[in-house]
């Protein structure tokens, strides 16, 4: 899916802009903009993960750690030290980037299962730190009193205002990432995914590229974490656990790993499943997620973005038979 056309992006942007106005008028979906904020926050993480997994071909099961680092750095620096939230957001991204380099350089030399387990272990270690370092993080009880965001006196203190803020970030990141994919950097990434040996022989510094993409995904996850913290004004470690990393994986798999749109589609679907549609199951939504993931990986490995292609294939078959 390389010819990423501009039209769908514009249409989607229009939809995002108009949606809150519409939802205000329909009682049944009045809370949807709130959900869309989460969908947007998750999209930031999944876009980075999609670049890492779908294009560069690397696995990370520990993205929740970077999400948490962004959230906790922002929370600690603003709530405890009173620093400017935007500044703290940037610090969070820098911290996440540094951690990503430290973890990524040795981990990305590993392949397949080893890489998956290394990122998994890393994610859990960070989760344990969030729980144990009570003095800094408040431990399992979490941290409250996190301020919101405002810019030159304009406070993003309503759901709608925060919605536009989050989606501004999502679109900026989305366009940036698409540019990368369609550039020679993106070509180098696809080359690495296809054959690392040949890529090296062509002068591509494979390890450096892998680390760069990993750092990018970490920075995006951190940004998402900060936005999450400033929205809820409260965080606790259970948000950043292993299951969240797996949920991200489900988003990517469901949406479609090899297409950047899959990241957004997957984030949307899982957000709505999680907050709205699976309420019936309560805690047992875990089983539903597992079943969805399994069905997707068996029957729809290309994810939802693969559906148009499948339909086209079926349609062509019918046309040639009929």
């Amino acid at each position: 899916m390389l010819r990423i056309r501009k039209l769908p992006i514009i249409i989607f942007a229009l939809f995002i802009i108009v949606f809150p106005r519409v939802s205000r008028l329909i009682p049944a979906i009045q809370n949807y903009p709130d959900l869309m904020i989460f969908a947007g926050i998750y999209s930031l993480i999944t876009i980075g993960l999609s670049l890492l997994m779908g294009y560069a071909g690397q696995i990370s099961l520990g993205q929740a750690a970077f999400y948490g680092i962004g959230a906790y750095v922002s929370a600690i620096l603003t709530a405890t030290y009173g620093l400017n939230p935007w500044f703290c957001m940037v610090i969070g991204m820098i911290v996440a980037a540094i951690v990503a380099v430290l973890v990524g350089v040795p981990s990305l030399k590993l392949k397949g299962h080893y890489l998956a387990m290394a990122t998994l272990a890393f994610g859990i270690i960070v989760f344990i730190i969030f729980n144990e370092e009570v003095e800094w993080t408040g431990g399992p009880d979490g941290m409250s009193g996190i301020p919101g965001l405002s810019l030159f006196g304009f406070a993003f203190d309503s759901v709608e205002k925060y919605y536009y803020l989050v989606w501004f970030f999502v679109f900026s990141v989305f366009v940036f990432t698409i540019n990368v994919i369609q550039s020679r950097t993106g070509r180098a990434l696809r080359a690495i995914h296809s054959s690392e040996a040949a890529s090296s022989a062509m002068g591509i510094n494979v390890s450096r590229f892998k680390v760069v993409v990993f750092v990018y995904s970490a920075i995006l996850a951190s940004l998402a974490g900060s936005l999450y913290a400033y929205y809820l004004n409260f965080i606790n470690p259970s948000t950043f656990d292993l299951f969240f990393s797996i949920k991200l994986l489900i988003m990517i798999a469901l949406g479609g790993m090899h297409d950047i749109w899959g990241a957004i589609i997957g984030a949307f679907l899982i957000t709505f499943l999680s907050f709205e549609w699976l309420h019936f199951f309560e805690e047992f939504e875990v089983i539903v997620y597992g079943v969805i993931l399994l069905l997707v990986i068996i029957f729809l490995p290309q994810g939802m973005v693969g559906i148009p292609k499948i339909l086209k294939g079926l349609f062509n078959k019918k046309v040639s038979n009929g």
């Binding site: 950097t185 080359a191 022989a201 062509m202």
Partner: protein, 263 residues
């Protein structure tokens, strides 16, 4: 320029390679002079691809030195060696199947262009210009190897002959001084083999030094200036084509018999 005064592009000095108890290469010593085609022959398992892997940086030798234009390179990584000017093809053909023919060659241009992650994302102004240049150069190379019409097809969809040509084209895109070809004629029919041979000659005419691993003795005789023969990881003969053809050690290595049995 006569053969003797040419620069030694590649010098392999007492290179040895041990893999967990197995001595894949023992005391390999040879050089390749600028603009010449040197073939490495030997039965399967003789260590030819291992030698290639060492020269191109896939791994470092357990002993010995490899010099490229006088500079020792045996400890460098593969992509660093590619940047210095050594490029290669693979015995198993490692094309980028998920890309088009043109894109495969464009990746080859990667070494010679600076492109940062951030610049790519922001689409800075000079980006597009660079991209046009890369595309033009890649098309030129496709013309040179005879694949220009197929530029937009998927690399995987080409027949074997086309894939071999594409891999050579991709390697040429890195603007190498030394090109290492690993069995370029393997599996090709007569016509394709001739095309490959004339392509290698054309490459030689451009002044690129070629190091060649090959089993097809006709190709080897046709295009190489010098031949080196390996067996069981050791060099058993080196010299001009005619000498090697009649060298008893080489014959024995390949056929496992003496001259009498051949007659």
């Amino acid at each position: 320029m006569d053969k003797e005064s040419r620069e030694k592009i590649l010098e392999v000095e007492e290179v040895g390679m041990v893999f967990g108890g197995l001595m894949a290469l023992i005391n390999i010593h040879f050089n390749a002079k600028e603009g010449m085609v040197k073939a490495i022959i030997g039965p399967n398992g003789a260590g030819k691809t291992t030698l290639f892997n060492i020269i191109t940086g896939t791994f470092s030798p357990t002993e010995g030195v490899v010099r490229f234009r006088g500079k020792p390179i045996q400890k460098l990584k593969a992509h660093e060696i590619a940047e210095l000017g050594i490029s290669r093809t693979f015995q198993t053909i490692e094309l980028f199947g998920n890309m088009t023919v043109l894109e495969n060659v464009m990746v080859g241009c990667h070494t010679r262009t600076r492109s940062s992650f951030i610049a790519s994302g922001l689409r800075l102004p000079h980006y597009k210009h660079k991209e046009e240049q890369i595309r033009a150069k890649a098309m030129e190379i496709l013309e040179f190897v005879g694949l220009a019409e197929k530029f937009s097809e998927s690399a995987d969809s080409l027949p074997l002959g086309g894939r071999k040509m594409l891999e050579i084209g991709r390697a040429l895109a890195t603007e190498p001084t030394l090109l290492c070809l690993d069995e370029p004629a393997a599996g090709l029919n007569e016509t394709e083999t001739e095309k490959a041979s004339s392509l290698i000659n054309a490459i030689k005419e451009k002044g690129i030094t070629v190091l060649l691993v090959e089993h097809d003795m006709k190709v080897v005789m046709n295009i190489s200036d010098e031949i080196m023969a390996l067996n069981y990881g050791e060099k058993i003969a080196e010299g001009l084509s005619e000498e090697i053809q009649n060298n008893p050690k080489v014959i024995e290595a390949y056929l496992g018999s003496s001259e009498e049995d051949r007659a």
